[in-house]
């Protein structure tokens, strides 16, 4: 097996707030290889976005502190880099697409200026070559008449087009790792279908390693090779996408899959997950999911389950998977 593009080892990012320390990311490990897509699934507050921000060195300071672990990009630990070095790495070797394209685009600059900026600073392009490369990039994300669009401002584009522009900027380098954080949540369904297809094509073309953050399990099923399910700052289950969907082990993953209505299946009642999402400032001892778990045992409320490996390449943090 070739070495992974990105390897995260035992990452711990905590937030220090007035109400106490929040373990936003608490011992997360995973790796993604070239051309591979990892789906990071979880609810709000599960730590999926904070994991991505930790990789990029963009955690909100001073509240957030990366307390430990390693983030290895092609073997280099990003956590030891200076802010200046990280600035060179972001955009060039790691790129990110966010949910809202307007948070990535500057409303007062034309699309052309914003696309040319990384090309000029990372590739030293100038003049005609720079312009041609910008047109080529816009065309490669499926924007029609790209030369004319260079003069447009973000507000003149539709949501789908804006997200395409962000995509064009993200692959300008092209990077080794692309992090997509809910990139289609603000798009309409038929536009989402177009954008997912585009991301797949770009990934195949550039052999990108991709981390796809989403709470939409349908997108995970379609886009990802491997899945990591997060709950309260930890990866509670990880494995190949078929395994996770066909034979989930962790009760949270199971409940999540069962609670979603499916097209073409008429069930009277959905299997709801009882209770409320966990309060990260006041996590119970033991397993964080235990208060909502239908199969919780006395042990789950007392002791936190370590990572078990029910099958090769499949991990689960649940006492039910403890070897006998």
């Amino acid at each position: 097996m070739t070495s992974p593009v990105i390897e995260v080892r035992d990452l711990r990012t905590h937030l220090v707030t007035r109400w106490g320390t929040i373990k936003a990311v608490d011992g997360v490990s995973f790796s993604v290889g070239e051309g591979e897509t990892l789906g990071l699934v979880g609810e709000s507050g599960s730590g999926k976005s904070m994991t991505c921000l930790s990789i990029l060195g963009l955690v909100p300071r001073p509240a957030a502190r990366i307390l430990g672990g390693q983030v290895l990009l092609d073997g280099e630990d990003l956590l030891t880099k200076s802010p200046r070095e990280m600035q060179r790495i972001r955009g060039k070797r790691v790129a990110m697409i966010l949910q809202d394209p307007m948070s990535s685009l500057n409303p007062v600059f034309s699309v052309g200026m914003q696309i040319r900026e990384p090309l000029a600073s990372y590739h030293g392009l100038a003049g005609r070559a720079l312009r041609e490369r910008a047109v080529e990039l816009l065309g490669s994300v499926g924007i029609s008449s790209p030369a004319a669009r260079l003069r447009a401002f973000p507000h003149q584009l539709s949501g789908g087009m804006r997200q395409r522009v962000v995509g064009a900027m993200a692959i300008a380098a092209p990077p080794r790792l692309l992090i997509a954080d809910e990139p289609t949540t603000s798009l309409d369904l038929t536009i989402q279908a177009q954008y997912l297809r585009l991301l797949k094509d770009l990934q195949a073309l550039h052999r990108l390693a991709m981390i796809f953050v989403t709470h939409n399990l349908g997108i995970v099923a379609k886009m990802c090779d491997r899945v990591a399910v997060m709950y309260a700052g930890r990866i509670v289950e990880a494995g190949g996408v078929e395994t996770i969907f066909r034979a989930p082990r962790h009760p949270y993953t199971r409940a999540l899959l069962e609670s979603v209505p499916r097209l073409g299946e008429s069930t009277e009642w959905l299997t709801a997950i009882e209770g409320q999402p966990p309060d990260l400032a006041a996590l119970p001892p033991g397993c964080a999911f235990a208060p909502r778990c239908p199969r919780a045992m006395a042990r789950c409320r007392a002791e936190e389950p370590p990572e078990f490996t029910p099958a090769p390449g499949h991990s689960s943090r649940c006492w039910l998977d403890a070897p006998p």
Binding site: E43, S44, S158, G160, M161, D188, L189, T190, I191, Q192, A193, Q194, R197, H215, N216, L217, G218, I219, A221, K222, V241, E242, F245, R246, A255, L256, L257, S259, V260, P261, R262, L263, G264, S266, T267, W269, L270, T271, A272, I273, E274, Q276, P277, R292
Partner: protein
């Protein structure tokens, strides 16, 4: 013959004039909703699906009577809304309530939950304090909240619980129809099933009708008895939920439902990726409004607008089907 529907919309139309310049000279017309007809049966759910700008929210606003139709009629329990006097409208507004997407925006942060849920009663019925308190506690119990919730403020609740508060408030006046505009979109995935189950249980117990608007097609198909699919202000397909969801006929419905991704990595349904973007409702294409993105576009689609006509037990507005070829 089935009994008359609870609510019937006939050729419902809403055009918004676009004004320009200092003196607001009319510069165009947004045809937000254009001659849309549908019915909502008592105790049943009509699901309204479509992408942004298709007119589903404008339709719901006309039903809530916050927007006056440009033309067309809404009949509620057989009586047209236009003919209602002040008292009649007041009664109508009590019978039709709404729950919105964002329970963080729809609840006043400075009011206690008991006051929020009881406010519609105070305004409309002026009950004595003990009666009011009893009703509020009943409503909270109905939506699965504890009694002490009445004394707390909205910020002390999670998103799912807040949506329960909004539902309790909507039910306070025992409405006959509740407009649910994206009621679970803002909630965490693990909470959505709780709320959908609650809504279904309430329908069963109270016999209330729903107009369910959402972009999560699986949720709409799960909740609805009938589904209407809208595109650029028009209904393109209308029929029983199971038929529309499983065997969609209109090319737009087909593309829409193919974009709703199945929860199974091995299931690879035919992928229909529409080209292009949704045209502006300021200047909808002539003929069939979908023809600019349709895979099956024919010459006449660019010219003639297809009527909504019966096809395979539902209504479809498309020239592909012989029923509309006449």
């Amino acid at each position: 013959m089935s009994p008359a529907p609870l609510l019937e919309a006939t050729a419902l139309t809403k055009h918004f004039p676009v004004r320009k310049g200092l003196f607001g000279r009319p510069a165009g017309l947004v045809r937000a909703v254009d001659a849309v007809s549908f019915a909502i049966e008592a105790g049943k759910t009509l699901g309204l699906v479509g992408e942004s700008g298709c007119g589903k929210t404008t339709t719901s606003r006309m039903i809530l009577h916050v927007e006056t139709p440009t033309s067309g009629a809404i009949r509620f329990e057989g009586a047209p809304l236009v003919g209602l006097d002040r008292d009649g409208l007041r009664r109508y507004r009590r019978s039709v309530q709404a729950v919105f997407q964002d329970p963080y925006a729809s609840l006043d942060p400075r009011m206690r939950v008991g006051t929020i849920v009881g406010e519609p009663l105070v305004i409309n019925e002026r009950p004595a304090v003990p009666t009011l308190r009893k009703r509020v506690l009943e409503l909270l119990e109905l939506v699965g909240l504890p009694e002490r919730a009445a004394e707390l403020y909205p910020h002390e609740f999670s998103g799912g619980q807040r949506q329960r508060i909004a539902i309790a408030r909507a039910l306070a006046l025992s409405p006959k129809l509740v407009v649910l505009d994206e009621p679970v979109s803002a909630l965490d995935v693990s909470i959505r099933a709780q709320i959908l189950n609650l809504l279904r249980d309430l329908q069963r117990r109270l016999g209330v009708s729903y107009l369910f608007i959402a972009h999560d097609l699986a949720a709409v198909a799960h909740m609805s008895h009938t589904i209407a699919v809208m595109y650029l202000g028009k209904i393109v397909e209308l029929g029983a939920a199971a038929d529309v969801a499983r065997r969609p006929k209109h090319p737009y419905t087909q593309a829409l439902f193919s974009a709703a991704l199945p929860l199974d990595p091995r299931e690879r349904p035919e992928e229909i990726i529409l080209s292009g973007e949704i045209p502006s409702p300021l200047d909808p294409p002539p003929g069939c409004r979908f023809h600019t993105r349709c895979r099956h576009v024919m010459e006449r689609c660019r010219r003639d607008e297809p009527p909504l006509a019966p096809e395979s037990g539902r209504l479809v507005a498309c020239h592909l089907y012989p029923a509309s070829a006449a």
